[in-house]
Symmetry: C2
Subunit: 263 residues, 2 copies
């Protein structure tokens, strides 16, 4: 790997939060970095402790060259407050939340001036990353400093990700539709369980596949998508209003067609 960071030959990475996504990050970064993980809600010693990944206390994890916040968006403010005074000057702090405006605001307000800040949103999860992450998308939102360029280059060249740089505002506006609609539809389909498995069409199979990909997401993911994205409310209202429009149209069609059908 080319040396992409102005750190020692093998920069240390500290990961806060070792849920499904924190573990996915660790798996893909372990070949390139020395990793420390810390999760205040879980004993991570069983999952970590393999190869390059070691569990550590908050102070040691916060003192790494690169610090990744893989905690739910709802816990970001308190984690930022906990780690802020332990961050090393020149460190890079990244988050991986599924919304970007609010984490960017919290990190800018709560992290010391001597660290670079980058918002990221890997547009994939444990389900979609099963067959590897090469070619998958990640959004990068520069918040403070210029080293997002090196991070983007690493993600693109070394991990093979499809990287695009956007503002938190641009991100949240598009993500509100992409994730909002996906999760709303999945919530409705999950309530229709059990769905047919025999008389299925290719398009229905795609819908079920979409639902299966997100139905096991951590509850915090849905919460963040629906509540921490300022554009989510409008998309949700639009989605339900359009659904009602389709329902009303169908009802009108039916009453119009009733006499014909009776012929």
């Amino acid at each position: 790997m080319p040396s992409l960071f102005p750190f020692s030959s093998c920069p240390s990475v500290g990961i806060f939060g070792f849920g499904a996504f924190g573990q996915l990050i660790a798996r893909h970064l372990a070949p390139y970095f020395s990793l420390l993980v810390h999760d205040r809600n879980a004993d991570v010693s069983a999952s970590a402790g393999q190869g390059n990944v070691r569990c550590a206390d908050l102070v040691a994890t916060a003192a790494c060259d690169i610090v990744i916040l893989a905690v739910p968006v709802s816990q970001m403010a308190s984690v930022i407050s906990d780690i802020s005074s332990h961050l090393r000057p020149g460190a890079i702090v990244l988050d991986v939340g599924s919304v970007k405006i609010e984490p960017a605001r919290l990190m800018r307000a709560g992290l010391p001036d001597h660290v670079d800040i980058i918002g990221t949103h890997p547009l994939f999860g444990p389900q979609s990353a099963r067959a590897g992450i090469a070619g998958l998308k990640i959004a990068i939102c520069p918040v403070r400093g210029q080293r997002f360029r090196r991070v983007a280059a690493f993600l693109r060249r070394t991990l093979g990700l499809n990287v695009f740089v956007v503002t938190p505002e641009e991100h949240d506006r598009e993500a509100a539709i992409v994730q909002g609609v996906t999760h709303l539809i999945a919530k409705v389909l999950v309530r229709m369980d059990p769905l047919p498995t025999r008389m299925t069409t290719a398009s229905f199979d795609l819908l079920v596949g979409a639902t299966e990909m997100v139905r096991h997401d951590a509850p915090g993911v849905f919460w963040a998508i629906e509540n921490a994205n300022p554009h989510a409310g409008a998309v949700r209202e639009q989605f339900f209003a359009l659904a009602m429009e389709v329902r009303d149209q169908l009802r009108a069609d039916q009453s119009e067609l009733m006499p014909l059908a009776a012929v």
Copy 2:
């Protein structure tokens, strides 16, 4: 091809309706049969007239060994009435409509006793059949006579389709969910155009793929799914009721979380 029908070595097939689906049928049957096509709404001479496929008048088309009704479900009653007296004794009549109870009832009531009747529903369309039809699903509903077994064997062995035999009632109950839900979701998503193309997730891509597969379906397909399937109304009401449930749940969550978010 093994001789699957008790007809001449190359049985004649008459196709009524030469829309997107009639053309798909013709393309896949042309290697095995001599085909006549008739469409009362369209001049099919340009599309037909190639290889084994010739356009013909109603009487000649109805006099084939095998007659396939590829007309919209809404026109089935009048086509049955038009062709009934021209059918040859021992012929097999099939429909390919996306509902089965109503076409089966119409064919049983309107076709002479001297023909076999089979309801079929190919669970694919021009979009999903682009890469070939091998492995795709088709439902077979025996309505009159035993020759559905030979037809099923041909579809399975020669065309490579995944064939299952069900009653019209079983078919419509499952199809109401499979097709009803797919088309309702597609109708909502099409109204959200233009959808994001950049910040997309794998699950969102599947949703868009599902929508693209059905958005160009003939309007009659949606009409039949929503109005000619006796189970469609209940599925539709369930879908919209569940959507409202999700909306109300989200609204309740939001008002509960409001004080927390303000902290």
